[in-house]
Symmetry: C2
């Protein structure tokens, strides 16, 4: 295993320590593994909490800041954080207007966030939750009942974060989150496996001449293993299932071409060109886009495509200022 780490069991703690040193505008609670804004938002505004297993950086800790999340709970690599982490975080960020929990649809995360919300309720904090399940690749998986939560999480955290920042109440923010989740779809692929530090070897074997289509963000199996193909064909294998699942014509779309961690930007831009061309041919009008590593799978090479059916309101919230380590514009 070739990684820039010390002992595998210290990866998360030491990475959080580096994040804290790099970003003084964040408060990193190293004991509870919660990343918060060093300066809380104004009293009376809804707060946003997300979190999940680590290994998907910048998600979620890198999206804490003005216009996006108020806090993120970091679990061990590919392992859900615990309900007490969520309780600590929820309590720390509540400004009297309630807290929205943004949960990716994995069995462990859903269960723990439910318990976390119950604990927060006992603290007298109103909590609403949205479960993101945008992955069209598979219905159920190794870690999921129903569809997995993947790339749409990034877009949802940005848009809903803007709504919370401008003072929308908890019901409105939760409704918006549900609406965004209903209007977005994703599909990913891997050229290589990732290697979990504690395992020390690749999660799966993928021969030199094959790739996995419909992969999850933990290296869990996708739809099928197929021969390695040119970028043009890969783009089609990602875009077609998305368009088959939801009609994206007639509205502006926000599109993300996301890298899985080890694919360089020169390839991601190339892939974006292929994806944008296919979408245009299918009558989808791409109004905004994001190209880069936003929700990764450790050192996996590959990419995913997310398409969100937007409208003027969602575009306005998308364009609103955001100041986080992972996403930043307009301020």
């Amino acid at each position: 295993m070739k990684k820039l780490i010390n002992a595998p069991e210290d990866v998360l703690a030491e990475s959080l320590r580096g994040l804290a040193l790099s970003h003084p505008e964040l408060e990193v609670d190293l004991a509870d593994r919660v990343i918060l804004r060093a300066t809380r938002k104004d009293e009376g505004k809804v707060a946003l909490l997300s979190g999940g297993g680590s290994g998907h950086e910048p998600l979620h800790g890198g999206f804490v800041g003005t216009g996006m999340l108020d806090a993120a709970c970091a679990g061990e690599v590919f392992t859900s954080p615990t309900p007490d982490q969520m309780q600590v975080a929820t309590k720390a960020i509540d400004r009297g207007a309630g807290v929205l929990h943004i949960v990716k649809n994995y069995t462990g995360d859903v269960m723990n966030f439910e318990m976390g919300a119950e604990l927060a309720a006992m603290d007298g904090i109103e909590v609403r939750s949205v479960v993101v399940d945008d992955d069209v690749a598979v219905q159920d998986s190794l870690y999921t009942a129903g569809r997995r939560g993947v790339g749409l999480t990034v877009l949802l955290e940005k848009i809903v974060g803007a709504a919370a920042e401008e003072g929308q109440d908890l019901a409105a923010v939760a409704d918006l989150a549900a609406r965004v989740n209903g209007q977005g779809r994703s599909m990913g692929m891997a050229l290589t496996s990732c290697t979990v530090p504690a395992a020390g070897k690749p999660t799966f074997d993928l021969p030199d001449d094959q790739m996995e289509i419909g992969i999850g963000i933990h290296g869990e199996p996708g739809r099928h293993r197929v021969p390695l193909a040119p970028a043009k064909d890969i783009a089609a294998q990602l875009v077609e299932p998305i368009l088959a699942d939801l009609d994206f014509t007639g509205s502006p779309a926000i599109v993300m071409l996301n890298g899985m961690g080890a694919s360089p930007l020169i390839e991601l831009y190339l892939m974006y060109g292929e994806v944008a061309t296919l979408l245009e041919k299918a009558g989808v009008r791409v109004a905004r886009n994001l190209v880069g590593n936003y929700i990764t799978s450790l050192d996996m090479a590959g990419c995913s495509v997310t398409v969100l059916k937007a409208d003027d309101e969602l575009l306005r919230l998308w364009d609103a200022p955001v100041v986080t380590p992972g996403l930043r514009w307009g301020a």
Copy 2:
């Protein structure tokens, strides 16, 4: 070779096409392979041109925009762009106040930028140049007489870009560039080789239990090959040669922990924690930092450290607004 590409010979053209589709605020001249701001800066301001071989993205095209570069010339992967590309770009961005060429110290780039400057002079444009040579690893290399130009290029383009944006004249901007170059040092390492698309196989073999210290950004050999070591030791092997080369105490420092392309953010933040700790112990006060993939080497796993001795003026220029695909804050 597992890459998100079509034919190897089309990688650059197709990646530039994707960049153009993703960033309408850029003008991408696909014929000449020049990336420009879609909206030129005001008349009377100094313009900045950089460029070099592709495969280091986001450098340089991703640093074109307000507060940084006015244009970048993209060569084939790891191959210098040509003098006529530089002539076209220089002419396109000159606003009557002259153009600064920012050149990384590689024999091909230096020669071609010299010819490009001569061609621009024949067009009546005043050109000054700075050659960046910050790599403490080796004195001469496969592609270089003298030290190689690496990570400092990113910091220099940001700082000098701010000076040009605020209206400093060509002499002042060129002097500033030379000063920044004199005050910064870098050192890199690789866990794995990169694979040039046209070659189709790794540039060098690096056994599973070894790493290369002092690597260049093209996979050219470093100082030595040593056994794989913990992050803490890697950090020491990068920081010590930098501190041995220049005294960084007594001034604030700007530090970049840069990924080589295939190392995920969870590892880069961990490495930053180790580097920041070593610098602090050595009496270096880190005033600003940057962690992420800024000057890469295709799909190489590894990282580099850059330290720049700053002062209030350099920090002010560092903090000035920048709006580019690769670096963005304050606007």
